[in-house]
């Protein structure tokens, strides 16, 4: 029995499921390859392969996939439709599998999450039994253990994030999708710049998801994008402690363009809106971040 190797692109879904996937495949004793952090080569490849109107994050994803093509047997691409009708995802999360499948001639491992039609994550994993060459019982056990451990890891991160709220430094809520915040090319330069300026960063994705979704009703009552609801909820949960908010978006993100605009009109915390596209990435932002930090510092002194 020859061993299979699964490639995981370090973009989009990776940042939501990285612990789950890593532990799951480790338990099943299956090798995985994760593409390296986003670099210039991957971005250029992604841009050349994709349609020019796709959002920056999806272009980067395509770049990662094309990096993995000759390094593994399968590529793991889930499809996430919704977590119930009021918790839908961006349409790109619905379409990535089919887009990649048509762009590249490569075998793909795919599972579907569609709670509205009763397709849970566990069901999706169980259906992988033939490709992974493991029986359903093994998969179920591995999945349950992986889920538990990955939640523990997230809990620890969340605790740290919440503890940071009590810090006396200037605190900025970095608000965006995790695949943007943690990306080497999109979020990292901003995170590094803030850290160098002695600022405590609060991450918007490290809050309790359920609490966030419940809270988000205060700011918007007809929103049905799960990831955006989580972001909005994080504002409400941390509002009392933070000094400012950075909205980090890639161009042209659909849900963000609507939801963030609405939120910006309703909150009274100082904020700055950074939109990142595939042209030169950091130069322009340094000036804007600098003046934003200046304002926050002055405000803090006056208080």
């Amino acid at each position: 029995m020859d061993k299979i190797k699964i490639g995981i692109p370090r973009s989009l879904y990776y940042y939501y499921f990285k612990d789950l996937w890593q532990i799951f495949f480790e338990k099943l004793n299956i090798d995985i390859v994760i593409s390296p952090k986003t670099n210039k080569e991957i971005i250029d490849k992604g841009i050349s392969m994709s349609n020019d109107e796709m959002c920056m994050s999806l272009k980067i994803y395509i770049g990662h996939v094309s990096y993995l093509l000759d390094k593994c047997d399968y590529i793991l691409i889930p499809r996430i439709d919704n977590y119930g009708l009021e918790n839908q995802t961006c349409t790109n999360f619905l379409a990535t599998y089919d887009i990649i499948n048509n762009l590249f001639n490569k075998k793909i491992i795919n599972y579907n999450i569609d709670l509205f039609q009763n397709e849970t994550e566990l069901k999706g994993f169980l259906k992988l039994n033939k490709i992974l060459k493991r029986n359903k019982k093994q998969i179920k056990i591995a999945y349950e253990e992986a889920l538990k451990e990955s939640l523990n890891i997230k809990d620890k991160k969340m605790m740290k994030n919440i503890n940071n709220l009590k810090n006396k430094k200037i605190k900025i809520l970095l608000l965006g999708h995790p695949y943007n915040i943690y990306d080497e090319y999109i979020g990292d330069p901003i995170v590094n710049y803030l850290k160098n300026n002695n600022i405590e960063i609060i991450y918007s994705d490290l809050f309790d998801s359920k609490k966030c979704i419940n809270k988000s009703n205060i700011l918007t009552n007809s929103c049905y994008f799960k990831y955006n609801k989580e972001n909005i909820g994080s504002i409400l949960l941390s509002k009392k402690y933070i000094d400012g908010i950075i909205f980090l978006t890639t161009f042209p993100c659909g849900p963000d363009s609507l939801v963030n605009e609405l939120v910006m009109r309703k909150i009274n915390t100082p904020f700055i809106n950074l939109i990142i596209d595939d042209s030169n990435i950091l130069t322009g932002f340094e000036t804007r971040l600098e003046s934003f930090i200046d304002i926050l510092e002055r405000k803090k002194i006056h208080e």
Binding site: D98, N221, S222, Y224, F251, P255, S257
Partner: protein, 352 residues
């Protein structure tokens, strides 16, 4: 959207005791207003609808109704309400969707607030008539679309259609509607057309707002008609509301080779239609969408692939506030020349 304001007006004027104003026709000024107050990279239909809403408020309407569904449409209303209220207009804004689904209980309460005599049973009756009206409109529309390029007396179709719509508005009941439809159906079929046996055929697919609002696609269809091209189009309100639900399963089977899942909004439908048109050996396909329409952007590479496999030319149009009419005309003319030449070459080849 296009002429669909007529059934909407008919429905609302019968179930609510309110005065309904005709919507203002979209002009370049509407788009300017919409773009001015919209977020930067929201999809274009948001800008159009916002512009229309603001222009209508200036015409002194004080109740606005916004529907939605599918991808981002469902979320338009809340933001538009906020923008309009921030601009200082004092209006009642009714949102028919919340959290991704149409909430009938909420709608009932909203309507009750406006009109105390609001009655569910009579509303259902009128709703039924309205859906039937949309069906008839779409049927006539389809016939017109196939023939408008070949009419002998210019504007014949357009005028008759307008007459029919005006008559629809005065419909008293179900039977009356049927009679009007029969009468104008006969009348429209009698209009003389000069249609050659082998004319060029083009299919139009794309994002629903752009495809149905005649202004936002700059009368693309009339332009095509004036080049004597027969047009096939699938998306209309009746399709979206009633046919899509039970057709989509069958369509998904037909395109199993290309996609496994629905891709949000109408992307899967459009891919299925592309396949259908390719199997019909149509001369060309035109795909139109508003800029930043995420589902359609995802569908484009796949549509391209299918068309390439079947060797059918596709033309992609993206509409936004800055699109110029002249640019579109040039591209259309080039496309027309190309498919015409292809057809001639094919004929020569088959003769040899």
């Amino acid at each position: 959207m296009g002429n669909y304001y007529i059934p909407a007006k008919y429905l609302l004027s019968h179930i609510l005791d309110v005065n309904i104003l005709d919507p203002v026709k979209i002009t370049s000024k509407t788009i300017e207003i919409g773009t001015k107050y919209s977020p930067e990279f929201v999809c274009t239909p948001f800008k159009y609808t916002l512009g229309t809403l603001i222009e209508n408020i200036e015409k002194k309407s004080n109740i606005l109704i916004q529907a939605g569904g599918g991808c981002k449409y469902g979320y338009y209303a809340e933001l538009q309400e906020k923008i309009i209220k921030d601009l200082g207009y004092d209006v009642i804004f009714i949102n028919l969707v919340s959290q991704g689904k149409t909430d009938f209980k909420k709608i009932y309460h909203e309507f009750k607030k406006i009109d105390k005599n609001f009655n569910i049973w009579s509303s259902l009756y009128y709703l039924f008539i309205t859906t039937k009206m949309i069906r008839y409109m779409d049927k006539i529309d389809n016939y017109i679309r196939h023939n408008i390029g070949f009419e002998i007396d210019k504007n014949d179709f357009k005028n008759t259609n307008q007459e029919m719509l005006n008559a629809f508005l005065k419909t008293k009941g179900f039977f009356d509607l049927f009679k009007i439809y029969k009468k104008y159906n006969k009348k429209i079929k009698k209009i003389k057309v000069n249609k050659p046996k082998e004319c060029l055929k083009v299919g139009i697919i794309g994002e629903l707002y752009t495809i149905m609002e005649p202004f936002s696609n700059y009368f693309l269809e009339t332009e095509l008609a004036s080049m004597n091209i027969e047009i096939t189009r699938f998306t209309n309100v009746h399709y979206l509301l009633f046919e899509k639900k039970y057709k989509i399963k069958k369509e998904m089977k037909r395109i199993k080779k290309y996609i496994k899942y629905k891709m949000g909004a109408d992307a899967a439908d459009n891919i299925a239609h592309t396949k259908y048109l390719c199997d019909q050996k149509i001369d060309g396909i035109i795909h139109i969408k508003a800029s930043f329409c995420t589902p359609e952007i995802g569908a484009m590479p796949i549509i391209n692939k299918i068309a390439k496999e079947h060797d059918i030319p596709v033309l992609f149009f993206t509409f936004d506030a800055n699109t110029s009419e002249v640019g579109i005309k040039t591209r259309l003319e080039a496309f027309h020349d190309m498919i015409e030449r292809r057809k001639k070459n094919e004929k020569l080849l088959s003769r040899n």
